[in-house]
């Protein structure tokens, strides 16, 4: 009896170790790919920079905000928007692997079943960390002056990364459902546009019609922006409850979408 229990425990230890090792292997493979296609990284970084310049210098003057400068108000929104748009690369990456036949090979290997999705999302988190560093630099160059300490800044980054990680599982589901990478990208925009623009990311919601305000104040992107703003800007925007709400949203999204994505992966 105890022998059986012991051997079961050993084999489940093996399973976990192999799963982590396989996730690491697939993550490494995805990061090598990112490095081999520097154009993709360059242009996907250029897009959020354009958004910073657009809102900072073109629209910003017409958007009144309270308690801080517009650029300080803007940057948390830009960060979260960039995280959301970055999740598209999760869907594109998986759609490509499906299309080229690499997933077929993976599925015939004795590797952990969770490694493909785990490795994809982990690589995209690494990419997002790079993007946060880049956008921080760009922000500072256009006048962004975060309040608070290094610790609150890092906390804000973790809140965004958690949200982006949860979102990636939804985009994994899209990538595995799309017939090809191009369509995966097209399928992503109708979801991202309302979430990022009908939100507190770029403008205060008070200017929106009442019915839209209800959505814009409570949807996950806004809540995450509010949390990041609370940590990076503070003052008028100090709102500790938004941090908890953001974490609850992220965990909730993950718990719903990750099993769906995993189920889809097993079936494709």
């Amino acid at each position: 009896m105890s022998d059986i229990a012991l051997s079961e425990r050993t084999s489940s230890n093996h399973t976990v170790r192999y799963a982590l090792q396989d996730i690491g292997t697939v993550t490494k493979r995805n990061l090598i790919r990112t490095r081999r296609i520097p154009e993709a990284l360059f242009f996907s970084s250029l897009q959020p920079i354009m958004f910073v310049l657009l809102f900072r210098y073109v629209f910003g003057g017409a958007i009144p905000v309270q308690g801080t400068t517009y650029v300080n108000y803007l940057m948390p929104g830009i960060f979260v928007q960039t995280m959301c748009f970055g999740a598209i690369s999760t869907s594109i990456g998986l759609a490509e692997d499906l299309q080229t036949g690499l997933l077929e090979r993976f599925r015939a290997l004795p590797m952990s079943r969770s490694a493909v999705l785990g490795g994809r999302t982990s690589a995209d988190v690494v990419r997002n960390i790079f993007v946060i560093l880049l956008m921080t630099l760009v922000g500072v160059l256009v006048g962004f002056r975060p309040a608070g300490t290094i610790a609150t800044y890092i906390a804000a980054c973790l809140v965004m990364l958690l949200f982006s990680y949860a979102l990636m599982w939804g985009f994994a589901l899209i990538g595995l459902s799309a017939p090809n990478a191009e369509v995966a990208q097209l399928m992503s925009f109708p979801i991202l546009f309302p979430l990022t623009f009908a939100s507190t990311a770029f403008v205060p919601v008070q200017s929106m019609p009442g019915w839209l305000q209800v959505f814009a104040k409570n949807q996950p992107v806004s809540v995450t922006v509010d949390a990041v703003r609370s940590l990076m800007v503070g003052g008028t925007y100090h709102d500790p409850s938004s941090i908890w709400k953001a974490i609850v949203w992220s965990v909730g999204i993950f718990l719903v979408l990750a099993p769906l994505a995993i189920r889809k992966y097993r079936k494709v």
């Binding site: 192999y18 090792q21 396989d22 292997t25 697939v26 490494k28 493979r29 090598i32 790919r33 081999r36 296609i37 080229t100 036949g101 690499l102 077929e104 090979r105 993976f106 599925r107 015939a108 290997l109 004795p110 590797m111 490694a115």
Partner: protein, 336 residues
């Protein structure tokens, strides 16, 4: 039953909801350990579906399959440790180098990490890819890609290898090269299930050929058996035009032991006594003043076997072939 079969499939069925196509319809297969079995059939016959089920990628609707005694549905993990899969739909990563691809597969097969590098290096050398080891696969030619694909399937030294149309879309020289590699593997004792549309390929590599059409096995034997079943000799007569060919077929029908086939301006009949039948054929055609432009006697090829079994020439596959080449080509940016 005492002897374990490397591959054992019983009554496999699979229907795809799209188009309601029965891809497999009671498919049976035995591959003894150490043998090479060629699964032969036109595109859409169910070859790839069979391989995908046997390699645990796809679940069958009905029937059972075992690889080295492991059930593909219930012991998928053990099956995956036993098999290597290479071919048209399993692929390598474009953006990784040849070495990185093999290194990745080695890790995913959970080989001891110290043994992965030597194994990858050994395979790259064996398959003539040592010089290209550190180049991204996107710079490889079609033949190099297929060799790397095969190498990736061999990293963990699997006792059972599935090769799904390993040479489809390759130029003749690359095909010959890949055949040499496969023959060397077989000499080393690996059990191989090979699917192919090329009869020549099955004839050269396989101990036994299983012919599949519309998801069912329609013939099974050594290449020699299949040819013997058909008759001793094929007589081919070329006449002036298609109409004359049809008339000739009518005229020569009773000389044939089995098949009479008209293709353009020529007639093919399968006969027992080649030379005497050829003389008789000449006499009959001459009597009606049908001009004979060419006449030949040859051993039946697997092409003839296939024709006799399915009533289909295998050339129908060229369409499917160009399609799959296109699919690859778009990704490949061949350096040719």
């Amino acid at each position: 039953m005492s002897e374990i079969l490397a591959v054992e499939a019983r009554g496999l069925t699979k229907t795809f909801s799209k188009g309601d196509v029965k891809a497999l319809d009671g498919f049976d297969l035995d591959v003894p350990v150490g043998q090479v079995v060629g699964l032969l059939g036109p595109n859409g016959a169910g070859k790839t579906t069979a391989v995908r089920i046997l390699s645990t990628i796809l679940a069958a609707d009905g029937g059972t399959a075992r690889i080295m005694g492991f059930d593909v549905a219930k012991q998928a993990g053990d099956v995956r440790k036993t098999i290597g899969l290479a071919g048209q739909f399993a692929t390598v990563d474009e953006y990784l180098t040849g070495f990185e691809n093999l290194d990745m597969v080695g890790h995913l097969c959970h080989l001891p990490s110290t043994s992965i590098r030597p194994r990858a290096t050994e395979l790259l050398e064996q398959f003539g890819l040592a010089d290209a080891a550190d180049r991204p696969v996107s710079t490889y030619s079609g033949g190099m890609r297929r060799r790397l694909d095969l190498a990736a399937a061999l990293v963990a030294r699997p006792p059972v290898l599935f090769l799904d149309e390993p040479t489809t879309g390759l130029d003749p020289q690359s095909r010959l090269g890949l055949w040499d590699v496969i023959e060397a593997l077989v000499a080393g004792g690996t059990t191989v299930l090979l699917t192919t549309q090329y009869l020549e390929e099955a004839d050269r590599l396989a101990n036994r050929v299983v012919v599949i059409n519309a998801g069912k096995v329609i013939a099974n034997g050594t290449p020699a058996d299949l040819k013997a079943d058909l008759g001793a000799t094929v007589l081919e007569v070329t006449v002036g035009d298609h109409d004359q060919a049809l008339r000739s077929a009518e005229l020569l029908k009773d000389l044939s032991s089995k098949v009479v086939h008209v293709d353009g301006d020529s007639v093919e009949i399968t006969v027992e006594e080649g030379p005497s039948v050829a003389a008789e054929a000449i006499r009959r055609l001459d009597a009606l003043s049908i001009p004979i432009l060419g006449l030949s006697l040859h051993e039946p090829s697997l092409d003839d076997v296939f024709l006799a079994l399915t009533g289909q020439k295998t050339e129908v596959d060229t369409e499917a072939l160009t399609e799959s080449t296109k699919r690859r080509g778009r990704k490949a940016k061949e350096t040719s």
